[in-house]
Symmetry: C2
Subunit: 198 residues, 2 copies
Amino acid sequence: MAGKKRSEMMEETRAKLIASARKAFAEKGFAAASMDDLTAEAGLTRGALYHNFGDKRGLLQAVVDQLDAEMAARARDIGAKAGNDWDGLLAEGVAYIEMALEPEVQRIVLLDGPAFLGDPSQWPSQNGCLQETRRTVERLIAQGIVRPLDPEAAARLLNGAALNAALWVAACDDPQDVLAKAVEAFRVLAEGLLARPS
Amino acid sequence: MAGKKRSEMMEETRAKLIASARKAFAEKGFAAASMDDLTAEAGLTRGALYHNFGDKRGLLQAVVDQLDAEMAARARDIGAKAGNDWDGLLAEGVAYIEMALEPEVQRIVLLDGPAFLGDPSQWPSQNGCLQETRRTVERLIAQGIVRPLDPEAAARLLNGAALNAALWVAACDDPQDVLAKAVEAFRVLAEGLLARPS
DNA sequence: CAACACACATACACTCCGTATGTCAACTCA
DNA sequence: TGAGTTGACATACGGAGTGTATGTGTGTTG
Protein backbone atom coordinates (compact mmCIF):
# COMPACT_ATOMS: atom_id res chain seq x y z
CA MET A 1 0.00 0.00 0.00
CA ALA A 2 0.88 3.67 -0.15
CA GLY A 3 2.72 4.61 -3.29
CA LYS A 4 3.53 8.06 -1.95
CA LYS A 5 6.35 10.36 -2.78
CA ARG A 6 8.46 11.84 -0.05
CA SER A 7 6.91 15.27 -0.35
CA GLU A 8 3.47 13.74 -0.03
CA MET A 9 4.51 11.88 3.06
CA MET A 10 5.83 15.05 4.59
CA GLU A 11 2.62 16.92 3.88
CA GLU A 12 0.77 14.11 5.54
CA THR A 13 2.86 14.24 8.71
CA ARG A 14 2.47 18.01 8.83
CA ALA A 15 -1.27 17.59 8.55
CA LYS A 16 -1.33 14.94 11.27
CA LEU A 17 0.71 17.09 13.63
CA ILE A 18 -1.46 20.13 13.00
CA ALA A 19 -4.58 18.08 13.59
CA SER A 20 -3.27 16.73 16.90
CA ALA A 21 -2.15 20.19 17.91
CA ARG A 22 -5.57 21.65 17.21
CA LYS A 23 -7.10 19.17 19.58
CA ALA A 24 -4.47 19.50 22.29
CA PHE A 25 -4.25 23.30 22.16
CA ALA A 26 -8.01 23.65 22.20
CA GLU A 27 -8.41 21.33 25.17
CA LYS A 28 -5.45 22.23 27.36
CA GLY A 29 -4.28 25.55 26.01
CA PHE A 30 -1.00 26.18 24.27
CA ALA A 31 1.12 26.50 27.40
CA ALA A 32 -0.16 23.36 29.08
CA ALA A 33 -0.07 21.16 25.99
CA SER A 34 2.84 18.75 25.95
CA MET A 35 4.76 18.24 22.72
CA ASP A 36 5.45 14.64 23.68
CA ASP A 37 1.76 13.88 24.11
CA LEU A 38 0.91 15.80 20.97
CA THR A 39 3.26 13.95 18.71
CA ALA A 40 2.56 10.59 20.31
CA GLU A 41 -1.13 10.95 19.53
CA ALA A 42 -0.16 11.61 15.93
CA GLY A 43 1.97 8.47 15.95
CA LEU A 44 5.21 10.47 15.78
CA THR A 45 7.83 11.99 18.06
CA ARG A 46 9.08 15.47 18.79
CA GLY A 47 11.74 14.93 16.14
CA ALA A 48 9.15 15.28 13.41
CA LEU A 49 7.77 18.37 15.05
CA TYR A 50 11.03 20.26 15.30
CA HIS A 51 11.98 19.17 11.82
CA ASN A 52 8.77 20.51 10.31
CA PHE A 53 7.92 23.53 12.43
CA GLY A 54 11.14 24.67 14.08
CA ASP A 55 9.73 25.01 17.58
CA LYS A 56 6.55 24.98 19.60
CA ARG A 57 5.51 28.46 18.50
CA GLY A 58 6.01 27.45 14.89
CA LEU A 59 3.43 24.74 15.35
CA LEU A 60 1.03 27.18 16.96
CA GLN A 61 1.54 29.53 14.04
CA ALA A 62 0.70 26.75 11.59
CA VAL A 63 -2.43 25.82 13.52
CA VAL A 64 -3.53 29.44 13.72
CA ASP A 65 -2.96 29.93 10.00
CA GLN A 66 -5.13 26.95 9.20
CA LEU A 67 -7.94 28.04 11.50
CA ASP A 68 -7.77 31.60 10.28
CA ALA A 69 -8.04 30.51 6.67
CA GLU A 70 -11.09 28.41 7.50
CA MET A 71 -12.70 31.27 9.38
CA ALA A 72 -12.11 33.78 6.61
CA ALA A 73 -13.59 31.42 4.05
CA ARG A 74 -16.68 30.90 6.15
CA ALA A 75 -17.06 34.62 6.77
CA ARG A 76 -16.75 35.31 3.05
CA ASP A 77 -19.40 32.76 2.18
CA ILE A 78 -21.80 34.07 4.76
CA GLY A 79 -21.25 37.67 3.74
CA ALA A 80 -21.76 36.79 0.08
CA LYS A 81 -25.12 35.18 0.78
CA ALA A 82 -26.53 38.43 2.15
CA GLY A 83 -28.61 40.60 -0.14
CA ASN A 84 -26.39 43.68 0.16
CA ASP A 85 -23.09 44.73 1.67
CA TRP A 86 -24.59 46.21 4.80
CA ASP A 87 -26.46 43.04 5.67
CA GLY A 88 -23.28 41.22 4.73
CA LEU A 89 -21.30 43.18 7.29
CA LEU A 90 -23.79 42.38 10.02
CA ALA A 91 -23.92 38.74 8.99
CA GLU A 92 -20.14 38.52 9.04
CA GLY A 93 -20.04 40.02 12.51
CA VAL A 94 -22.64 37.63 13.85
CA ALA A 95 -20.84 34.74 12.18
CA TYR A 96 -17.64 35.87 13.82
CA ILE A 97 -19.32 35.84 17.23
CA GLU A 98 -20.65 32.36 16.61
CA MET A 99 -17.34 31.04 15.35
CA ALA A 100 -15.63 32.46 18.41
CA LEU A 101 -17.83 30.19 20.50
CA GLU A 102 -16.08 27.11 19.15
CA PRO A 103 -13.36 26.06 21.58
CA GLU A 104 -10.73 25.70 18.88
CA VAL A 105 -11.26 29.20 17.58
CA GLN A 106 -11.66 30.84 20.94
CA ARG A 107 -8.83 29.19 22.77
CA ILE A 108 -6.28 29.00 19.96
CA VAL A 109 -6.94 31.97 17.71
CA LEU A 110 -8.38 34.48 20.13
CA LEU A 111 -6.66 33.78 23.44
CA ASP A 112 -3.38 31.94 22.95
CA GLY A 113 -2.67 33.36 19.51
CA PRO A 114 -2.34 36.99 20.55
CA ALA A 115 -0.66 36.04 23.83
CA PHE A 116 2.09 33.91 22.27
CA LEU A 117 2.35 35.21 18.71
CA GLY A 118 1.64 38.88 19.23
CA ASP A 119 -0.73 41.17 17.38
CA PRO A 120 -2.89 39.22 14.90
CA SER A 121 -2.46 41.72 12.09
CA GLN A 122 1.25 40.94 12.08
CA TRP A 123 0.74 37.23 11.58
CA PRO A 124 1.92 35.73 8.29
CA SER A 125 -1.63 34.60 7.62
CA GLN A 126 -2.55 38.28 8.02
CA ASN A 127 -5.77 37.57 9.88
CA GLY A 128 -8.15 36.80 7.06
CA CYS A 129 -11.25 37.66 9.06
CA LEU A 130 -10.03 41.16 9.65
CA GLN A 131 -9.22 41.67 5.98
CA GLU A 132 -12.61 40.35 5.01
CA THR A 133 -14.37 42.80 7.30
CA ARG A 134 -12.16 45.67 6.15
CA ARG A 135 -12.97 45.06 2.51
CA THR A 136 -16.67 45.02 3.24
CA VAL A 137 -16.38 48.30 5.11
CA GLU A 138 -14.45 49.82 2.22
CA ARG A 139 -17.23 48.90 -0.20
CA LEU A 140 -19.85 50.37 2.10
CA ILE A 141 -17.94 53.62 2.40
CA ALA A 142 -17.58 53.79 -1.38
CA GLN A 143 -21.33 53.31 -1.67
CA GLY A 144 -21.94 56.14 0.78
CA ILE A 145 -23.77 53.81 3.16
CA VAL A 146 -21.13 54.04 5.85
CA ARG A 147 -19.56 57.28 7.00
CA PRO A 148 -16.10 57.96 5.67
CA LEU A 149 -13.65 56.72 8.27
CA ASP A 150 -10.60 54.52 8.37
CA PRO A 151 -11.79 51.07 7.25
CA GLU A 152 -9.03 49.30 9.10
CA ALA A 153 -10.05 51.01 12.32
CA ALA A 154 -13.68 50.13 11.85
CA ALA A 155 -12.88 46.51 11.05
CA ARG A 156 -10.60 46.27 14.08
CA LEU A 157 -13.19 47.56 16.49
CA LEU A 158 -15.99 45.49 15.03
CA ASN A 159 -13.96 42.32 15.31
CA GLY A 160 -12.83 43.24 18.79
CA ALA A 161 -16.40 43.79 19.85
CA ALA A 162 -17.42 40.47 18.37
CA LEU A 163 -14.58 38.68 20.11
CA ASN A 164 -15.48 39.98 23.54
CA ALA A 165 -19.10 39.23 22.92
CA ALA A 166 -18.13 35.64 22.20
CA LEU A 167 -16.00 35.32 25.32
CA TRP A 168 -18.94 36.55 27.30
CA VAL A 169 -21.37 34.12 25.72
CA ALA A 170 -18.97 31.22 26.11
CA ALA A 171 -18.51 31.80 29.83
CA CYS A 172 -22.10 32.50 30.79
CA ASP A 173 -24.78 30.18 32.12
CA ASP A 174 -27.48 30.80 29.53
CA PRO A 175 -25.75 30.94 26.14
CA GLN A 176 -28.97 31.06 24.19
CA ASP A 177 -30.23 34.18 25.89
CA VAL A 178 -26.87 35.91 26.14
CA LEU A 179 -26.03 35.24 22.50
CA ALA A 180 -29.20 37.04 21.49
CA LYS A 181 -28.30 40.04 23.63
CA ALA A 182 -24.77 40.10 22.25
CA VAL A 183 -25.96 39.98 18.65
CA GLU A 184 -28.46 42.74 19.33
CA ALA A 185 -25.79 44.94 20.90
CA PHE A 186 -23.49 44.26 17.97
CA ARG A 187 -26.13 45.36 15.50
CA VAL A 188 -26.80 48.53 17.45
CA LEU A 189 -23.12 49.41 17.65
CA ALA A 190 -22.57 48.72 13.98
CA GLU A 191 -25.37 51.11 13.08
CA GLY A 192 -23.18 53.86 14.44
CA LEU A 193 -21.17 53.45 11.28
CA LEU A 194 -24.09 54.37 9.06
CA ALA A 195 -24.04 57.74 7.36
CA ARG A 196 -26.61 59.89 9.11
CA PRO A 197 -29.61 60.88 6.98
CA SER A 198 -29.75 64.31 8.67
CA MET B 1 14.67 49.37 62.61
CA ALA B 2 11.33 47.95 61.68
CA GLY B 3 8.98 47.71 64.59
CA LYS B 4 6.53 45.77 62.50
CA LYS B 5 4.00 43.17 63.39
CA ARG B 6 3.95 39.92 61.53
CA SER B 7 0.86 40.74 59.55
CA GLU B 8 2.43 43.97 58.43
CA MET B 9 5.53 42.12 57.32
CA MET B 10 3.43 39.73 55.33
CA GLU B 11 1.59 42.51 53.60
CA GLU B 12 4.94 44.01 52.72
CA THR B 13 6.28 40.82 51.19
CA ARG B 14 3.07 40.38 49.22
CA ALA B 15 3.46 43.91 47.91
CA LYS B 16 7.10 43.33 47.01
CA LEU B 17 6.31 40.14 45.15
CA ILE B 18 3.44 41.72 43.27
CA ALA B 19 5.63 44.66 42.31
CA SER B 20 8.38 42.39 40.99
CA ALA B 21 5.82 40.30 39.17
CA ARG B 22 4.32 43.35 37.47
CA LYS B 23 7.72 44.21 36.07
CA ALA B 24 8.66 40.68 35.04
CA PHE B 25 5.27 39.79 33.55
CA ALA B 26 5.13 43.04 31.63
CA GLU B 27 8.62 42.63 30.21
CA LYS B 28 8.80 38.90 29.49
CA GLY B 29 5.22 37.79 29.56
CA PHE B 30 3.69 35.46 32.12
CA ALA B 31 4.86 32.22 30.55
CA ALA B 32 8.47 33.26 30.11
CA ALA B 33 8.87 34.88 33.51
CA SER B 34 10.81 32.78 35.98
CA MET B 35 9.62 32.53 39.55
CA ASP B 36 13.18 32.22 40.75
CA ASP B 37 14.19 35.47 39.07
CA LEU B 38 11.01 37.16 40.23
CA THR B 39 11.43 36.36 43.86
CA ALA B 40 15.17 36.99 43.83
CA GLU B 41 14.61 40.51 42.58
CA ALA B 42 12.24 41.03 45.48
CA GLY B 43 14.89 39.73 47.88
CA LEU B 44 12.94 36.54 48.57
CA THR B 45 12.63 32.97 47.34
CA ARG B 46 9.90 30.88 45.82
CA GLY B 47 8.97 29.73 49.29
CA ALA B 48 7.42 33.11 50.05
CA LEU B 49 5.60 33.01 46.76
CA TYR B 50 3.94 29.66 47.19
CA HIS B 51 3.12 30.46 50.78
CA ASN B 52 1.35 33.70 49.86
CA PHE B 53 -0.19 32.98 46.48
CA GLY B 54 -0.47 29.22 46.17
CA ASP B 55 1.01 28.95 42.68
CA LYS B 56 2.15 30.93 39.70
CA ARG B 57 -1.37 31.63 38.51
CA GLY B 58 -2.27 32.88 41.96
CA LEU B 59 0.41 35.51 41.65
CA LEU B 60 -0.84 36.50 38.21
CA GLN B 61 -4.32 36.82 39.63
CA ALA B 62 -3.09 39.13 42.36
CA VAL B 63 -1.20 41.29 39.86
CA VAL B 64 -4.23 41.46 37.58
CA ASP B 65 -6.49 42.42 40.48
CA GLN B 66 -4.20 45.27 41.42
CA LEU B 67 -3.92 46.57 37.88
CA ASP B 68 -7.63 46.23 37.32
CA ALA B 69 -8.41 48.22 40.44
CA GLU B 70 -6.07 50.98 39.33
CA MET B 71 -7.60 51.07 35.86
CA ALA B 72 -11.14 51.19 37.18
CA ALA B 73 -10.26 54.05 39.51
CA ARG B 74 -8.69 56.01 36.69
CA ALA B 75 -11.65 55.37 34.41
CA ARG B 76 -14.03 56.50 37.12
CA ASP B 77 -12.12 59.73 37.67
CA ILE B 78 -11.97 60.50 33.99
CA GLY B 79 -15.63 59.74 33.49
CA ALA B 80 -16.57 61.92 36.45
CA LYS B 81 -14.72 64.90 35.03
CA ALA B 82 -16.88 64.92 31.91
CA GLY B 83 -19.82 67.30 31.78
CA ASN B 84 -22.44 64.59 31.28
CA ASP B 85 -22.78 60.84 31.21
CA TRP B 86 -22.56 60.54 27.46
CA ASP B 87 -19.29 62.45 27.25
CA GLY B 88 -18.23 60.41 30.25
CA LEU B 89 -18.81 57.18 28.36
CA LEU B 90 -16.75 58.37 25.43
CA ALA B 91 -14.01 59.66 27.72
CA GLU B 92 -13.91 56.34 29.55
CA GLY B 93 -13.59 54.49 26.28
CA VAL B 94 -10.78 56.68 25.04
CA ALA B 95 -9.06 56.38 28.41
CA TYR B 96 -9.38 52.64 28.17
CA ILE B 97 -7.69 52.66 24.77
CA GLU B 98 -4.88 54.80 26.10
CA MET B 99 -4.41 52.69 29.21
CA ALA B 100 -4.23 49.60 27.05
CA LEU B 101 -1.18 51.10 25.40
CA GLU B 102 0.83 50.78 28.60
CA PRO B 103 2.86 47.57 28.48
CA GLU B 104 1.81 46.44 31.94
CA VAL B 105 -1.88 46.74 31.15
CA GLN B 106 -1.67 45.34 27.66
CA ARG B 107 0.57 42.40 28.30
CA ILE B 108 -0.70 41.37 31.73
CA VAL B 109 -4.37 42.31 31.83
CA LEU B 110 -5.33 42.06 28.18
CA LEU B 111 -3.17 39.28 26.76
CA ASP B 112 -1.90 36.97 29.48
CA GLY B 113 -4.83 37.50 31.81
CA PRO B 114 -7.52 36.06 29.56
CA ALA B 115 -5.16 33.38 28.23
CA PHE B 116 -4.17 32.01 31.63
CA LEU B 117 -7.03 33.00 33.91
CA GLY B 118 -9.96 32.70 31.54
CA ASP B 119 -12.80 35.12 30.90
CA PRO B 120 -12.21 38.45 32.66
CA SER B 121 -15.75 38.75 33.95
CA GLN B 122 -15.20 35.63 36.01
CA TRP B 123 -12.17 37.02 37.79
CA PRO B 124 -12.51 37.64 41.53
CA SER B 125 -11.76 41.30 40.91
CA GLN B 126 -14.76 41.20 38.57
CA ASN B 127 -13.14 43.46 35.99
CA GLY B 128 -13.71 46.88 37.41
CA CYS B 129 -13.42 48.62 34.05
CA LEU B 130 -16.27 46.61 32.68
CA GLN B 131 -18.47 47.36 35.68
CA GLU B 132 -17.66 51.04 35.41
CA THR B 133 -18.69 51.13 31.77
CA ARG B 134 -21.82 49.11 32.48
CA ARG B 135 -22.99 51.51 35.18
CA THR B 136 -22.48 54.46 32.89
CA VAL B 137 -24.49 52.75 30.17
CA GLU B 138 -27.25 51.99 32.66
CA ARG B 139 -27.52 55.64 33.63
CA LEU B 140 -27.64 56.68 29.99
CA ILE B 141 -30.41 54.23 29.28
CA ALA B 142 -32.35 55.48 32.28
CA GLN B 143 -31.96 59.02 30.94
CA GLY B 144 -33.28 57.95 27.56
CA ILE B 145 -30.06 59.00 25.85
CA VAL B 146 -29.08 55.48 24.93
CA ARG B 147 -31.43 52.98 23.40
CA PRO B 148 -32.79 50.36 25.75
CA LEU B 149 -30.53 47.32 25.43
CA ASP B 150 -28.63 45.02 27.72
CA PRO B 151 -26.09 47.23 29.51
CA GLU B 152 -23.73 44.35 30.12
CA ALA B 153 -23.70 43.54 26.42
CA ALA B 154 -23.05 47.14 25.46
CA ALA B 155 -20.25 47.49 28.00
CA ARG B 156 -18.69 44.25 26.83
CA LEU B 157 -18.60 45.23 23.21
CA LEU B 158 -17.38 48.74 23.90
CA ASN B 159 -14.53 47.47 26.01
CA GLY B 160 -13.72 44.80 23.48
CA ALA B 161 -13.60 47.36 20.71
CA ALA B 162 -11.33 49.57 22.79
CA LEU B 163 -9.04 46.68 23.58
CA ASN B 164 -8.53 45.71 19.97
CA ALA B 165 -8.03 49.31 19.04
CA ALA B 166 -5.24 49.50 21.58
CA LEU B 167 -3.56 46.34 20.35
CA TRP B 168 -3.62 47.79 16.90
CA VAL B 169 -2.15 51.10 17.98
CA ALA B 170 0.53 49.41 20.04
CA ALA B 171 1.75 47.27 17.14
CA CYS B 172 1.69 49.88 14.40
CA ASP B 173 4.43 52.14 13.09
CA ASP B 174 2.76 55.51 13.57
CA PRO B 175 0.99 55.42 16.94
CA GLN B 176 0.08 59.08 16.87
CA ASP B 177 -1.85 58.82 13.64
CA VAL B 178 -3.36 55.43 14.30
CA LEU B 179 -4.50 56.38 17.78
CA ALA B 180 -6.47 59.26 16.30
CA LYS B 181 -8.14 56.94 13.80
CA ALA B 182 -8.95 54.41 16.50
CA VAL B 183 -10.50 57.02 18.77
CA GLU B 184 -12.54 58.39 15.89
CA ALA B 185 -13.82 54.95 15.01
CA PHE B 186 -14.67 54.30 18.64
CA ARG B 187 -16.72 57.48 18.82
CA VAL B 188 -18.58 56.61 15.65
CA LEU B 189 -19.38 53.11 16.84
CA ALA B 190 -20.51 54.33 20.24
CA GLU B 191 -22.96 56.71 18.59
CA GLY B 192 -24.81 53.65 17.39
CA LEU B 193 -26.00 53.31 20.96
CA LEU B 194 -27.79 56.67 20.92
CA ALA B 195 -31.55 56.68 20.84
CA ARG B 196 -32.59 57.75 17.36
CA PRO B 197 -34.44 61.05 17.15
CA SER B 198 -36.47 59.48 14.34
C1' DC C 1 10.43 30.61 79.72
C1' DA C 2 8.85 26.89 77.37
C1' DA C 3 6.07 25.40 73.73
C1' DC C 4 3.83 26.43 69.70
C1' DA C 5 2.66 28.76 65.22
C1' DC C 6 3.92 30.60 61.17
C1' DA C 7 6.47 32.97 57.43
C1' DC C 8 9.82 31.81 54.66
C1' DA C 9 14.08 29.11 52.92
C1' DT C 10 16.04 24.87 51.24
C1' DA C 11 16.08 20.50 48.87
C1' DC C 12 14.14 17.33 45.81
C1' DA C 13 11.27 15.10 42.20
C1' DC C 14 9.13 15.64 38.04
C1' DT C 15 7.98 17.56 33.55
C1' DC C 16 9.06 19.81 29.53
C1' DC C 17 11.53 22.21 25.82
C1' DG C 18 15.27 22.48 22.59
C1' DT C 19 19.39 20.46 20.46
C1' DA C 20 22.74 17.23 19.11
C1' DT C 21 23.30 12.89 17.35
C1' DG C 22 21.85 8.55 15.26
C1' DT C 23 19.29 5.69 11.77
C1' DC C 24 17.05 3.99 7.96
C1' DA C 25 14.47 4.53 3.74
C1' DA C 26 14.23 7.01 -0.59
C1' DC C 27 16.44 9.15 -4.32
C1' DT C 28 20.59 9.81 -7.55
C1' DC C 29 23.77 8.57 -10.74
C1' DA C 30 27.41 6.08 -12.77
C1' DT D 1 21.70 -2.06 -10.36
C1' DG D 2 24.23 -0.93 -6.42
C1' DA D 3 27.04 2.32 -3.92
C1' DG D 4 26.77 6.96 -2.21
C1' DT D 5 24.09 10.71 -0.60
C1' DT D 6 20.26 13.22 1.09
C1' DG D 7 16.76 13.97 4.19
C1' DA D 8 12.79 12.80 7.28
C1' DC D 9 12.28 11.35 11.53
C1' DA D 10 13.69 8.92 16.12
C1' DT D 11 16.57 8.77 20.16
C1' DA D 12 19.44 10.63 23.78
C1' DC D 13 20.88 14.34 26.58
C1' DG D 14 21.23 18.76 29.15
C1' DG D 15 19.17 22.73 31.17
C1' DA D 16 15.45 25.17 33.13
C1' DG D 17 11.30 25.62 35.55
C1' DT D 18 7.31 24.44 38.57
C1' DG D 19 5.34 22.46 42.57
C1' DT D 20 5.91 20.04 47.04
C1' DA D 21 7.93 18.24 51.13
C1' DT D 22 10.80 19.38 54.70
C1' DG D 23 13.74 22.37 57.52
C1' DT D 24 14.64 26.70 60.31
C1' DG D 25 14.44 30.67 62.88
C1' DT D 26 11.67 34.30 64.80
C1' DG D 27 7.58 36.08 66.84
C1' DT D 28 3.77 34.97 69.79
C1' DT D 29 1.28 33.04 73.79
C1' DG D 30 0.04 30.94 78.16
